[in-house]
């Protein structure tokens, strides 16, 4: 299935957002997620189905002013 992860196209097989994170090697990481522009809380990642063309954002702590 073709989706977009942090702006990059990805070919990935993942039923849920949680699964996608795992495949991306970020299952354990301190990250937050958004699907098509909306925040998806950690607790809802399992239940969040992905479909062709979805846009996922995965963000982590970074320096800031």
């Amino acid at each position: 299935m073709r989706i977009e992860v942090n702006g990059e196209p990805h070919e990935i097989e993942a039923a849920s957002l949680a699964e996608a994170l795992e495949k991306l090697g970020l299952a354990d990481a301190t990250v937050a997620t958004a699907l098509n522009g909306d925040f998806v809380p950690r607790g809802e990642r399992d239940g969040t189905r992905l479909s062709e063309g979805d846009r996922i954002e995965i963000v982590a702590p970074m320096k800031g002013g």
Binding site: A32, A60, M62, K63, G64, G65
Partner: protein
């Protein structure tokens, strides 16, 4: 100092960006005495996991974090960013930025008020990055903000306080609200002056990170803020037009 019920001794909030290295940043935070640092959220890749290392570094500093919504230009972006930040950083605090113009990083006060309303309703404790606009300030307080962070001058410009009249009016108008001068300060005397104007704290980043010696500059700002606050509390003299000799005139010898 009290921000949303959190007591801090230091009146300096420090940014964590633009330092020559993470180690220098860590030194600067320590030297500054800051108990609150600002952070942001950026895309993470499983390959680099850069964010994980950064986060570990910050946690080791044992300071409180204030996540920002830097770079957000719409209410929606800012709100979603705040929601993600709350989960990642596990805090209700957010430095709310809604930028309306790129070159000056000018706050969009209209969007800011709207976003502040949404976030407060969701239980956030909002630190709005705003201008010296008195009326926007009033609206932000109505929206539930208990802190205001007007700019001194454009972020990273180092110009200091461009509109002292406006900042003084804001202070006079809201004597009870914690006010933080956020952005634009360049040298320690700028920070001391802000404190002498009765501001409660100062938020800095570039002036420290871009100094030749960031850690030393961080210490300098920390001291300047203490000095300015102490001066404010010690009750400064009234300036006057004319001179007034300090040495007593009476009793001077006549040596003609």
């Amino acid at each position: 100092m009290d921000f949303y019920g959190v007591e801090t001794r230091s009146r300096l909030l420090l940014g964590t960006a633009q330092y020559p290295s993470p180690a220098v940043m860590a030194d600067a935070v320590k030297e500054s005495g800051a108990e609150i640092v600002t952070v942001s959220l950026r895309r993470e890749s499983g390959a680099q996991r850069a964010g994980q290392d950064f986060w570990a570094l910050i946690r080791d500093l044992g300071v409180r974090v204030l996540p920002n919504t830097a770079g957000c230009h719409t209410v929606k972006e800012a709100v979603t960013t705040a929601q993600m930040a709350r989960e990642v950083f596990d805090t209700n605090w957010v430095k709310l930025e809604v930028i309306g113009e790129e070159d000056t990083q000018h706050p969009d006060v209209i969007g800011l008020v709207e976003a502040a309303r949404v976030l407060t309703d969701e239980g956030f404790e909002v630190f709005p990055y705003t201008t010296e606009d008195l009326v926007a300030a009033e609206r932000l307080l109505e929206a539930g903000c208990k802190v205001l962070m007007p700019w001194g001058s454009p972020i990273g410009s180092g110009q200091g306080i461009n509109n002292p009249f406006g900042l003084k009016a804001l202070r006079a108008h809201f004597p009870e609200v914690p006010l933080v001068v956020d952005a634009g300060l360049g040298v320690p005397s700028h920070a001391a002056r802000a404190m002498e104007m009765g501001y409660d704290a100062v938020l800095l980043n570039t002036a420290v990170a871009k100094a030749a010696d960031p850690a030393a500059m961080a210490a300098a700002f920390g001291r300047a803020i203490e000095a300015g606050r102490a001066g404010f509390e010690a009750g400064p003299m009234e300036p006057r037009e004319m001179a007034a000799p300090s040495t007593p005139v009476m009793g001077k010898a006549n040596l003609a």
